[in-house]
Symmetry: C3
Subunit: 436 residues, 3 copies
């Protein structure tokens, strides 16, 4: 039975003690006023800071950084001990140096290990460790780090060694982050949506109003979103595969893979996953919006009135096989594209991607990914069909929105097609050799 | 090459030996009749119990608890050895003490470790470890526990330290459980469904039958479920966020977070995840039932006949912009609500939630969760639209079912709105400080 | 700070060094021409092969197997050291013996450990370890293996002990595999699709063309796939549960569970998960294809014209309650079946199945699985409804495709029903006892 000392009887100190007692550790608290309180977990002892420090060689500092000063006076007692810094800040990069490094300066003789700061006191106490169980650990002394990692593992958490104490800054920033990799995709898609929103409002709402005084603002609820979302999905999907193509051109041009890509390209390549998932979200919305079309009052009303008009006039449309072909094929292409899209999404799930090897992962993400892009682009092209680029569909000189949406995907596909021509492909493969 | 001894040549003993031999252990069986059988895995040796025990200091007891008595006689030989208890029972809490503790009484000098009982013999043998790979381990001697956990890890399984031998009872009950956390959500939703089933049958089937002798029992297949399921979804979703609101009121009233919540509230808060997922299931069903509406014979027939009637009478309905707005908006709200609902579901997947930090997890679950609730409630309110609370929609003094369904969500939203008023929120934040 | 030596300054050597330096190891390169290059990660030293070998007792051989010969001359220096073989081949089973065993022959005195071959250089360097983080490790010396596994763990990867060096062959083949377990399901479903494609083309396209010269080839886009996919889904679903039934009959016949199943049955049983997921994919496609039915031009045209015809003739169809019942029930059955199908899919996700115990997993997979099969079969039966087996639906003596599709599911369900009759079930349970 190992004894661990915890400095500070605050929320986190108590929760951690509670959990560690469950896992068979014996706990000694160090406190400013060492009196047993009913809040302390049953089984823990409590002493003054200096007394408590002598009972164990691992001391967890469950105190805010602002109150670390008292540790300076304990330097003697803490010499050679393992001090675990678990503190968090309120803002990213709040202090010039990380809390752990600050602690290392305060108590020179001790081995400082950063850990546990990503775990919430409430989660420890209530047992609902639903969010991350990963505990990032760093420190300069590898033996000390090992000891702490053993404790982490015993508590049922997953320790992740992050190297030397220099990593503490990053570890302290981690719990303050809110989806950093999703920021770029998010803003990008917001811009796309806003742009296409105004574009479609002008073409589909303002123009009819100006031209024929028809109030069709109700289109804002479904028709307009069902233009914006698929266009955003298609554009984002193309933007997922664009950086790979740019990288290839760059490597071909440079003749080597050993020069770093420009920063913007690097960052872009690292958030392709997030871009792709956002695209999937938009595609999902597009599918839902499309499937409710026949339920809409407007659609039912239109269909009914058209039928009544024809019935009254006793005329019937002729069946057009080519329209049937076009209409059925673009829908079928959309369905197949969406299906592969969902497959890409499923293989992005961390637990699934962890089960496949590199070859399989890249087969799905790269090969099936391009197939998805092809199918979705074809879906839009065939949807455009006969009207595509016809001058009649220009409104105030503006082409239909989907025509604009097709520019990037078609560009990506054309360049990719050139890149896989045998002669170019061979050069590229030779350059890239050794990466996988 | 470590030697491990297994007592008992039954199914589990053999399967475990088979797996351990694959991982380079050498295996010695102890048996009542020590003769090589063709069933024993190739490479294992077999001896009498007492002989076998001398060959190794780790002994796995692959024998049913009912036959443990013979171990008593081996007390001498087993002194200081590590005995691994892997036994299961047939019923939860079948015996007053756990099997492992019983074994500890029988063989006082040995170090007892509980492990492996959650793994099935068939899974070990066939290699399809599809269900849990987690092996819960407990024991009083930490060195012995460590040895066993090393073996577990070598076999490709995940050891989870559960503390002292007192945890054995819980570990033994674990494989006998059938979704314990899902019981309450399941029964609750069953009750909801039954109640609303009868409510809707009375309003939508019995009343028309009594009033106008119309046989519309076929509504039982789709129309009625498509009332019950969304109502259950909405109610359950509201019940997910109700306990948080109650907890806040309680904490405000008490002025401290340090008094425990009543048991029912605690339990309720711990199964919110399950409640939410069941709600998602119902919402999914609602969406499917809604999307098939235009395929239904009844709907097609109605639409056709209405058109024919109007065509014959040569009248056309006027287009109502306000109806178009209402119809499109409630559908759009439903789609957006469902989309966020699915996002909540995705972040509940263990592998995804393990990748996000607390702040991100609570952002999705709490902020987006409330947004989902708002959208779904708005969807229902706008669906009600003009008919909402109109006396004409009362049938036998009963309001429409969705009016009842709106009570809890609206209550939750109103209280939550009060709680986030700056003055109250500040007090609450002060009280809760330190939990995350 | 541990020192690790890496032989070879190629892509993999450098990437690994880069990662290990981040994790606080100190790195020494061995190279043919030991001169510092700007490509080498900052902080690493470089020597000749023999010099470098003396600096550490762990040496990672980041050299292609084809160039191993120079190691022979270093035999003396390498005596007693741990050599980590990380090499891959270009083809499965390219050499008669595995690279690691070949290395062991070349350098007799060293401890060979196979590891790291599943990790891509690019992934190490860029940090996007999206595919598998699992590192399979094998070797004859357990201490050496332990050392390597510690390194693996420190790098944030998951080591999996695979036993002795004999496992190296399999480990080397692993990264060259492309979904081996999915091959059989894939080919099977391809065959099914092709067969039913021609079957349906004959019945639904060629026959009308021959008979009445109608060009309805546009059906190839949606109508025909929407026959093929659900039929494939249903058949595959039945084939998931067929082997269990065959196994039961075999065990009943043999009276024991201890005789191995024939190989084909074994293999079939091991790829039931994949079969089931492919079936889910087809079912998903069927659902999408079904939900777009009302959007199709052909369907709208047909409905409109039928309405106009009736309106002109001033007739109205009578409402048929039995048709309403049949139509609504088969759709409802389909929806419920699909819902359970999706649940089965969700529990197959590795992270979810890892959270449930055996009893729960088998409850979902076996009980709910059969319920899914029953619902889907009933869906098809009721869809057939009155036309089912009616001679009028025979075309060129061929029955409707779904009639053929029903053969296997019905057979499975009937046999299963017989197997769970109390008398037979008791015998079977007795035979199988001890497996879980
Ligand atoms: C729904 C959806 C989900 C997605 N999920 C993910 C995800 O989970 N993870 C993810 O990473 N992406 C994901 N993506 C993004 C995308 O599918 C992948 O990034 C895909 O691999 C890009 O393929 P590519 O052929 O353009 O890349 P590449 O052509 O491979 O990219 C070109 C450059 O990248 C380098 N490179 C990239 N990977 C490797 C490698 N393994 N070995 C050697 N060199 C390499 C090459 O050197 C080359 O310079 C997702 C996309 C979508 C639409
Ligand atoms: C589809 C779906 C899926 C869901 N999946 C999950 C899931 O995977 N996991 C899950 O837990 N819930 C899940 N839920 C339930 C729900 O979303 C969460 O419980 C949500 O966090 C509740 O938010 P709240 O704002 O009401 O909670 P809170 O307002 O946080 O609850 C109030 C009380 O809880 C305490 N509390 C709760 N969490 C913390 C914390 N981290 N730190 C400090 N104090 C805390 C506070 O002290 C306070 O007393 C799911 C719901 C749905 C609909
Ligand atoms: C969408 C979908 C997803 C699926 N995902 C999975 C998956 O993730 N993993 C998976 O394995 N299957 C999966 N399946 C396949 C299928 O659901 C399971 O294989 C299911 O357990 C078969 O049930 P059964 O009753 O026919 O098997 P059984 O009747 O159990 O099979 C009969 C034989 O198997 C032996 N047996 C099998 N399992 C056990 C056990 N645990 N203990 C003792 N004996 C056993 C019995 O001895 C018996 O001889 C999936 C199927 C679908 C449709
Ligand atoms: N709460 C969480 O969820 C969480 C999560 C990760 C990390 N952390 C980190 O854990 C540390 C403690 O957090 P906490 O929530 O436990 O805080 P807390 O409840 O405010 O407790 C802080 C404790 O520090 C001690 N202390 C020593 N000198 C002090 C001084 N001059 N003024 C005030 N307190 C002093 C006090 O214990 P005595 O009275 O016994 O001396 C006090 O109980 C923080 O660094 C925090 O960032 C917390
Ligand atoms: N790249 C990957 O993604 C990856 C993944 C898993 C496994 N692997 C394995 O790692 C090993 C190395 O792959 P790599 O991609 O790093 O290959 P590489 O870039 O071609 O490097 C091979 C290195 O081997 C050394 N070498 C020694 N004798 C040699 C000789 N006679 N001819 C050529 N080179 C010689 C060279 O280093 P010096 O010039 O310094 O002597 C050279 O840099 C291979 O076995 C490969 O299968 C690679
Ligand atoms: N099967 C599973 O999937 C599984 C999973 C987890 C845990 N377990 C646990 O593993 C233990 C063994 O299960 P099992 O399925 O292997 O049972 P089993 O097939 O019935 O084997 C029990 C073995 O116990 C030995 N034994 C010693 N004294 C005995 C006596 N008086 N009567 C009968 N047998 C005696 C026998 O081996 P000798 O003839 O060689 O003496 C016999 O083969 C049980 O505690 C069970 O709860 C099983
Ligand atoms: C029908 C299609 C349904 C698609 C649903 C829409 C999906 C929208 C995608 C957005 C997902 C964002 C998750 C955010 C959580 C997060 O940040 O999670 C954060 C983590 C880690 O992120 P970092 O890489 O930034 O660290 O990301 C993940 O792990 C993302 C995994 C997401 C997987 C999405 C899987 C979609 C699966 C679809 C399966 C569906 C079948 C459906 C069939 C109908
Ligand atoms: C289209 C939406 C599809 C929604 C499908 C319906 C979902 C129904 C939810 C019920 C799931 C129950 C799983 C039971 C297994 C279990 O008990 O699992 C048990 C485990 C552990 O349970 P405990 O917390 O009780 O220990 O639970 C889980 O881990 C639950 C994770 C479930 C995650 C559900 C995710 C839904 C994801 C939807 C992704 C979809 C994209 C779809 C887009 C169209
Ligand atoms: C709406 C339903 C949506 C269904 C979507 C279609 C699913 C198609 C299934 C094919 C999945 C193949 C994955 C291939 C990756 C792989 O090879 O992965 C390989 C790994 C490991 O394979 P091995 O067992 O062969 O080693 O397999 C898996 O882990 C498979 C897990 C797949 C889980 C599928 C889950 C479907 C979940 C649906 C959730 C949805 C809710 C949707 C609600 C609307
Ligand atoms: C189930 C799958 C799908 C179906 C049934 C489907 C159906 C449709 C339909 C009916 C339209 C015409 C909408 C209208 O009339 O306003 C359309 C348009 C479009 N779809 Fe899809 N689609 C699917 C998937 C996708 C996917 C995955 C993408 C791309 C990522 C996509 C991209 C588009 C685009 C860009 C348009 C043109 C939008 C416009 O300007 O009106 N679709 N789709
Ligand atoms: C894709 C998403 C959705 C769509 C298209 C949709 C559509 C509809 C439609 C068409 C109706 C009217 C049904 C009828 O006429 O009988 C309805 C009713 C309703 N919906 Fe939704 N909905 C969606 C999502 C949701 C969600 C997520 C919830 C709540 C959790 C919800 C809750 C309700 C409720 C409570 C009703 C009233 C049921 C009644 O009494 O008839 N819906 N929805
Ligand atoms: C949301 C769920 C489902 C709905 C709404 C649905 C609906 C339908 C509809 C409308 C048809 C008739 C198609 C036609 O007229 O051509 C059909 C046929 C069929 N469905 Fe489903 N279904 C569902 C799920 C399933 C599932 C899960 C399966 C089986 C795995 C299945 C198997 C079949 C089969 C075998 C047919 C007959 C195909 C033929 O020969 O035409 N369905 N379904």
């Amino acid at each position: 039975q190992e004894t661990v000392c915890i400095f500070g009887t605050g929320d986190f100190g108590r929760s951690l003690a509670f959990k560690m007692l469950q896992c068979n550790y014996s706990i000694v608290f160090g406190s400013r006023n060492p009196q047993k309180s009913s809040l302390l977990p049953h089984g823990a002892e409590i002493f003054s800071y200096s007394e408590a420090a002598q009972k164990s060689d691992i001391i967890i500092i469950a105190v805010h950084r602002e109150h670390y000063d008292f540790l300076k006076e304990l330097t003697e007692v803490l010499k050679g001990k393992i001090l675990v810094d678990i503190s968090n800040n309120l803002k990213i990069n709040q202090y010039p140096e990380s809390n752990a490094e600050y602690l290392a300066h305060l108590v020179p003789g001790a081995h400082i290990v950063k850990a546990f700061n990503t775990i919430s006191a409430w989660a420890l106490q209530s047992g609902t460790l639903d969010a991350s169980r990963q505990v990032f650990v760093c420190g300069n002394d590898s033996h000390a780090k090992q000891r702490v990692m053993d404790i982490v593992r015993t508590l049922g958490l997953t320790p992740l060694d992050q190297g030397s104490l220099m990593a503490a800054k990053e570890i302290e920033n981690y719990p303050l982050q809110l989806f950093p990799m999703w920021k770029f995709p998010f803003y990008l898609s917001a811009i796309l949506c806003v742009f296409f929103f105004f574009y479609c409002v002008i073409r589909d709402i303002i123009y009819p109003y100006v031209n024929s005084k028809k109030d069709i603002t109700f289109r804002l609820a479904i028709s307009i979103p069902n233009r914006i979302f698929p266009i955003a999905a298609l554009t984002l999907l193309a933007l997922v595969y664009l950086p790979g193509v740019i990288a290839a051109i760059l490597q071909l041009y440079r003749g080597t893979k050993y020069r770093r890509f420009p920063d913007w390209l690097d960052h872009w390549m690292l958030c392709r996953k997030q871009l792709g998932l956002v695209a999937l979200g938009f595609a999902f919305l597009h599918v839902l919006y499309t499937l409710v079309i026949p339920i809409r009052y407007y659609v039912r009303w239109t269909l009914k009135n058209r039928t009544i008009t024809q019935a009254t006039a006793k005329t019937q449309d002729l069946f057009s096989t080519s329209t049937a072909w076009l209409s059925d094929s673009y829908v079928a292409l959309g369905i197949l594209g969406f299906f592969l899209f969902v497959l890409l999404g499923i293989t992005s799930l961390p637990s699934v991607s962890n089960m496949v090897n590199w070859r399989e992962f890249r087969f799905v993400q790269s090969k099936l990914g391009y197939l998805t892009l092809i199918l979705c682009t074809a879906h839009t092209l065939v949807y455009g069909g006969k009207r595509f680029l016809s001058p009649a569909s220009l409104i105030w000189y503006l082409p239909s929105a989907y025509v604009i949406a097709l520019i990037i995907p078609c560009t990506v596909l054309v360049i990719k097609f050139i890149l896989i021509l045998p002669c170019i492909d061979k050069t590229l493969t030779r350059i890239r050799q050794g990466w996988e």
